[in-house]
């Protein structure tokens, strides 16, 4: 995939991740999120002008992966870091279980990853507050 195509894909994927994190909430600063996605596209397009700039794709990828989580933490979607780690672990586990028999095609992987992450997110949103309360109760007493 050429950089501009990858940039567009990554920008959309970023919006999907933000939407995923805030799927059961209201996305904060929608305009700003779209702007961030647009900046990603411009950044990747600039690789064609100056190819060594493509090293910035690594921090850009980290941004795509971590910033939605960061937003989730700030806006209280995730209760704490343990919530995030549990989401990651559960997503991976579900992803492995679902994708194992499927062919390794990008779009199938994307669908599986997004759907299993969403499922894991939903499960944890329902269960993690209770787990946390249960864990915190003995500590309080």
């Amino acid at each position: 995939m050429y950089p501009l195509g990858a940039g567009v894909f990554l920008a959309l994927f970023y919006l999907v991740l933000v939407g995923l994190v805030f799927f059961f909430h209201v996305v904060p600063g929608v305009g700003r999120r779209v702007l961030e996605a647009a900046v990603l596209v411009v950044l990747f397009a600039s690789f064609h002008m100056y190819p060594p700039l493509s090293l910035t794709a690594i921090p850009a990828a980290l941004f795509v992966l971590l910033y939605p989580v960061h937003l989730g933490l700030i806006y209280g979607v995730f209760k704490d870091l343990t919530h995030v780690v549990l989401w990651f672990v559960l997503s991976v586990a579900l992803g492995v279980a679902v994708s194992w028999p499927l062919p390794q095609i990008l779009w199938i992987n994307v669908l599986v990853a997004v759907s299993t992450a969403l499922l894991a997110h939903y499960i944890l949103l329902k269960t993690y507050p209770r787990l946390k309360r249960r864990r915190e109760k003995p500590t309080a007493t």
Binding site: M1, Y2, P3, L4, G5, A6, F9, L10, F13, L17, F44, A45, F47, H48, P51, P52, S54, L55, A57, I58, A60, A61, V64, L65, F88, S91, V92, G95, V96, V98, S99, W100, L102, Q104, L106, I108, N109, V110, V112, A113, V114, T116, A117
Partner: protein
């Protein structure tokens, strides 16, 4: 009767224009100048016709020759002197020369054997003129000693009747390559051989020896004199190349050089067929100013096909879907090509070849005010030389809505060896062009529509060292001597797309190459796909002769990602791995790559240009062949190129049918050596498998 004529004297010659004369190809023509017989030069006169060039979509006036229209350069004294008896072996032809109301008669001596004067062979040089005749003298052969020879090649056939079969005798035409010589003042020098790697080591102590090979029949020698030379002589020295590295002089052939311009001559020298022949070319004379002499030689051989691995196939095509419109012209032409004329065209003895040119069916529409639609005459030219003509009947006898419509059926021709040899003798690469000329006089508006592919397919005696199109020295072509050019495919499409793909095969390697002219940054060729039935593996990519190197930043980026990449292994489909893989892919695709996929015996080789690389004019994919392929017969099914949809991606176009066969040589050195591959090899560093073995 001889009349006094006020003649236009050009360097002691008068130029006499002959129209409708006999074909003089291969003949030597002499006139008596009062003291001796001197050669008469022949300049074929063109008819210039407005031509639609398919590849560029533009119009240009181009010359067309029918070889019965020429200017004879006759010594002016020949008009006033009656010759003695015609030399033995020559016929007497009588030419009536007319200038207005005055007439003269010139006796000419004509024959296939040239006159020799001391050590000089007086040959007739031929030229393709570039303008209509300006001379006031018109000539006519009064007693044509024979009917104008029929063009044996002007036969039509179907596309399946041209296959070379084992046991067939073929007459391949190849080229000898020389570098130009700059001369000034009095000169006497050997013409340097143009070797791809600069090595020329056939004969000890005899530099500038050009390998010719076994079983050579005759030569067509072309010279181009840029500037002027006087008293010039061209000498071909023929040697026998011995197996001990020495060379033995056989004979020489000297002929006066033309003083200027591009000309060719046919030379027959009896040479031993079972000897390896070498030739040195010497030019001498006087150049009052700086001049350059280019010498091109087309050599004609006689070979027997023992094994189909000795032959290869060249194919060229133009996807033809276009409409030509023209107004108020008497004749218009549609021009296809030029296509690369690879060495080794396998001609048949009569001058025809084991090849075909397929001109697709098309239609013409003429606005017509008359009552009845006339037939439409279409003339076919190959390499701008007349080949044949057809007359197409109108679809309806009377005009429909003021127009006459014609459906011109498809036509299949044999490629004509003569035009090919002339093309080779007039320039280094040679070319094949196809032109269709329509006689549309009387019609104010003409529309011609094509909607099918023109195709040329010809068999070649394999020519291992030089395609003269993709001509590289060093890697990856360091094994030219054993890597044989086994298949070529040229596409010369509308919008000036000109690309050529070639397959070279040796016992240990297969090279697929692509050369093209689509180098625009926004719209260029960024990928290619070959579908072949030869089992291959391990692709490597060169651009020209340069191995692809991964840029430092891509290497660094991949290294950094490798460090964190283990995380991606935690899941096959996690969000993390998708993003990491995507970025990894950006670094990986920065430089070009090739891949091989196989399915049901078909091997798909694909090259994709790196996104960080500039457009590449020449790409070579090197492959390892399977040690024992299932069949000696292999097919090249299709080829397709990728066009950049910058900056999104490289889009691979729909397949272009190639469907040519190639035959792999038998494995094993002994069998290979006795495969009798005698060709034009030798201009590169020579491997010993052919030259050191006894030929028979």
């Amino acid at each position: 009767m001889v009349l006094a004529l006020s003649v236009v004297v050009v360097a002691g010659y008068i130029e006499v224009y002959v129209e409708g004369g006999p074909d003089l190809d291969g003949l030597h023509i002499y006139a008596w100048d009062g003291e001796e017989w001197v050669p008469v030069g022949v300049i074929y006169v063109p008819e210039c016709i407005d031509t639609y060039v398919v590849a560029t979509g533009q119009w240009a006036s181009m010359p067309y020759y029918n070889m019965s229209r020429y200017i004879l350069q006759i010594p002016s004294e020949a008009l006033t002197h009656n010759p003695p008896d015609t030399p033995p072996g020559l016929e007497r032809w009588t030419l009536e020369v007319q200038n207005g109301t005055r007439r003269a008669v010139v006796e000419l001596a004509v024959g296939k054997t040239p006159i020799t004067k001391e050590n000089l062979t007086l040959t007739t040089w031929y030229a393709l003129g570039d303008q209509p005749p300006k001379t006031p003298h018109r000539g006519r052969f009064i007693n044509p000693p024979r009917a104008p020879p029929k063009n044996n090649a002007a036969t039509e056939a179907d596309t399946t009747s041209h296959a070379v079969s084992p046991g067939a005798t073929i007459y391949p035409i190849g080229s000898l390559y020389f570098q130009p010589v700059k001369v000034s003042g009095s000169f006497n020098t050997y013409v340097p051989v143009d070797t791809p790697d600069g090595l020329n080591i056939f004969c000890k102590g005899l530099p500038e020896m050009h390998w010719v090979g076994f079983e050579v029949l005759n030569f067509t020698v072309g010279v181009k004199v840029s500037g002027t030379i006087n008293y010039g002589t061209l000498t071909l020295e023929f040697y026998n190349i011995n197996f001990d590295g020495t060379c033995t002089f056989i004979t020489e052939y000297s002929t006066p050089l033309p003083s200027s311009g591009s000309r060719w001559v046919n030379i027959d020298v009896p040479l031993p067929q079972d000897s390896q022949i070498g030739v040195r070319i010497r030019v001498e004379g006087y150049a009052p100013y700086d001049a350059t002499i280019d010498v091109y030689v087309a050599a004609r051989y006689k070979k027997t096909v023992n094994n189909l691995a000795q032959t290869a196939t060249s194919k060229a095509t133009t996807r033809s879907s276009f409409i030509v419109t023209a107004s108020h012209r008497d004749k218009i032409a549609v021009f296809f090509g030029p296509y690369v004329a690879y060495d080794g065209l396998a001609a048949a003895s009569e001058g025809t070849s084991y090849s075909y040119i397929y001109v697709p069916p098309h239609s013409a529409r003429l606005r017509w005010t008359g009552q009845h639609c006339p037939p439409l005459t279409v003339y076919y030219y190959i390499n701008e030389i007349a080949y044949t003509q057809h007359s197409a009947a109108p679809a309806t006898p009377a005009p429909a809505n003021g127009y006459c419509n014609y459906n011109i059926p498809s036509t299949v021709f044999q490629l004509w060896a003569r035009g090919y040899a002339i093309s080779k003798a007039l320039s280094k690469g040679g070319e094949i062009t196809i032109s269709l000329v329509y006689d549309v006089r009387g019609s104010p508006d003409v529309t011609i529509s094509f909607n099918d592919n023109l195709e040329i397919v010809y068999h070649r005696w394999i020519e291992p060292f030089h395609s003269n199109y993709i001509d590289r020295v060093g890697y990856p072509y360091d094994e030219w001597s054993s890597e044989l050019l086994r298949g070529t495919y040229q596409v010369f499409d509308l919008t000036s797309l000109n690309m050529t793909s070639e397959i070279r095969i040796s016992r240990s390697r297969i090279a697929l190459s692509l050369a093209h002219n689509q180098l625009d940054h926004m719209r260029h060729i960024c990928g290619a796909e070959w579908a072949i039935t030869i089992p291959v593996s391990g692709p490597g990519v060169y651009y020209g002769d340069r191995w692809i190197e991964e840029p430092w930043w891509a290497r660094l980026g991949r290294g950094l990602l490798d460090v964190v990449g283990w995380l991606a292994t935690l899941s096959r489909s996690s969000v993390f791995s998708i993003v990491v893989n995507l970025v990894y892919n950006i670094f990986q695709t920065a430089s070009g790559s090739a891949s091989v996929d196989s399915s049901n015996g078909l091997y798909i080789v694909r090259w994709i240009k790196g996104w960080a690389e500039p457009p590449q004019p020449t790409v070579v994919v090197l492959l390892d062949p399977a040690s024992s392929p299932p069949s000696r017969r292999a097919e090249w099914r299709y080829f397709r190129e990728g066009h950049s949809a910058f900056p999104w991606a490289c889009i691979i176009a729909s397949p272009r049918d190639v469907n040519t066969n190639t035959y792999l040589p038998r494995t094993g050195a002994i069998q290979w050596s006795f495969a009798k591959i005698w060709t034009w090899r030798g201009q590169t560093r020579i491997s010993t498998d052919v030259l050191t073995i006894h030929a028979r």
